[in-house]
Symmetry: C2
Subunit: 194 residues, 2 copies
DNA sequence: CCTACCGATCGGTAGG
DNA sequence: CCTACCGATCGGTAGG
């Protein structure tokens, strides 16, 4: 990967996240880099290839951050907290990539789309296995872990729509509070107990 | 609103949600209706106007469904459950509109964008006031209601990415389970109690 | 609702 | 001969 190619990918990431993939022209991208549109093709094959590279890198970031939690030796609640921190950390540190990832993955060519879906399933699987472990070890009450995993992921994913790096809470604080809500609930009284 | 205009809006909704706003051409839209591209402009002013109409209608649907819960006389946990049912119901019954709404509202002209943001704040406010009421009346434990409202809304919003009308759970069932998780938590033991 | 067309711009490629 | 880039233009399509 040449330096120029890296620059192009970074610029494309910024434009795709701000304007959307389809409304970003190669003209826009060239202007952002001080190049003529045609000159971009020395370094890339097509506009679609750029999207593909960005989305793939996004999927890798997510998995790379989460997978270590799978092997963590700790009670499930603690592992869930750690998974939430990592997941939300990736979104918060890569808001532009998250936006492109969540909005544009559907438009990838079929094989790449399938790859993304597989990664997504793998990712959800890590969350679900943590929660299933918790039920087995007795730290979590029996419940529909498909849906609690979805709740945890929804909270983290949706962050891309509202998180402000200069906001009142850090990404870790947000992750911890979400974890608290999901683990302990917000009700007063005995309902939270088994 | 003429019948033709309604047909155009419905077709646009379908195309915008499937291909995205910017990748949908007026040619696509004409073909979907068996019209020439130029003929559409007898009924609409611009492509952007179509987006505006779709997003505005989406915002109205959401508010219309939720506002009655504001005046409901019931304990906060019950009102939260009802709010979740309604919110998730709107998303589940309008998946295409939700997709367009969440992806494309950022691209509206500034005044319309501001209107959407105001509606969104109003909407979040309803959730937050329910939760604040709960703390005041003692049914919910004191906590950061800005963030618990965000958790509830995140779960409902993200539904547009994965909900399958033919899936194993109905929208109401999903809403109830999410409500359970948020209210009671998933931990076993005493953590859920005050 | 159509045909015909506008100024401009699309993604991608040519030769040098 | 290379990498990096140019001005110009390809065939088609954009919104109007």
């Amino acid at each position: 990967m040449t330096e120029r190619r890296t620059e192009i990918l970074e610029a494309a990431l910024g434009l795709f996240s701000k304007k959307g993939y389809h409304d970003t022209s190669m003209q826009d991208l060239g202007e952002a880099l001080g190049l003529q549109r045609g000159s971009l093709y020395t370094h890339i094959r097509s506009k679609e290839e750029l999207l593909l590279a960005i989305v793939k890198r996004g999927a890798e970031e997510f998995l790379k951050a989460l997978l270590p939690v799978e092997d963590m030796e700790a009670p499930a609640p603690e592992r869930l907290r750690e998974a939430m921190r990592r997941h939300i950390g990736v979104v918060a540190r890569n808001l532009e990539a998250a936006t492109v990832f969540f909005h544009e993955w559907r438009f990838l060519p079929e094989t790449a789309r399938q790859d993304v879906l597989k990664d997504r399933d793998r990712y959800e699987g890590v969350f679900r296995s943590i929660l299933d472990d918790g039920i087995r070890e007795g730290t979590l009450r029996p419940h529909d872990t498909r849906l609690s995993a979805t709740l945890a992921l929804s909270a983290g994913n949706w962050l891309y729509q509202w998180y402000d790096p200069k906001g009142r809470l850090t990404a870790d604080e947000i992750a911890d509070r979400f974890s608290n809500f999901i683990l302990e609930g917000i009700s007063r009284g005995r309902e939270g107990a088994a």
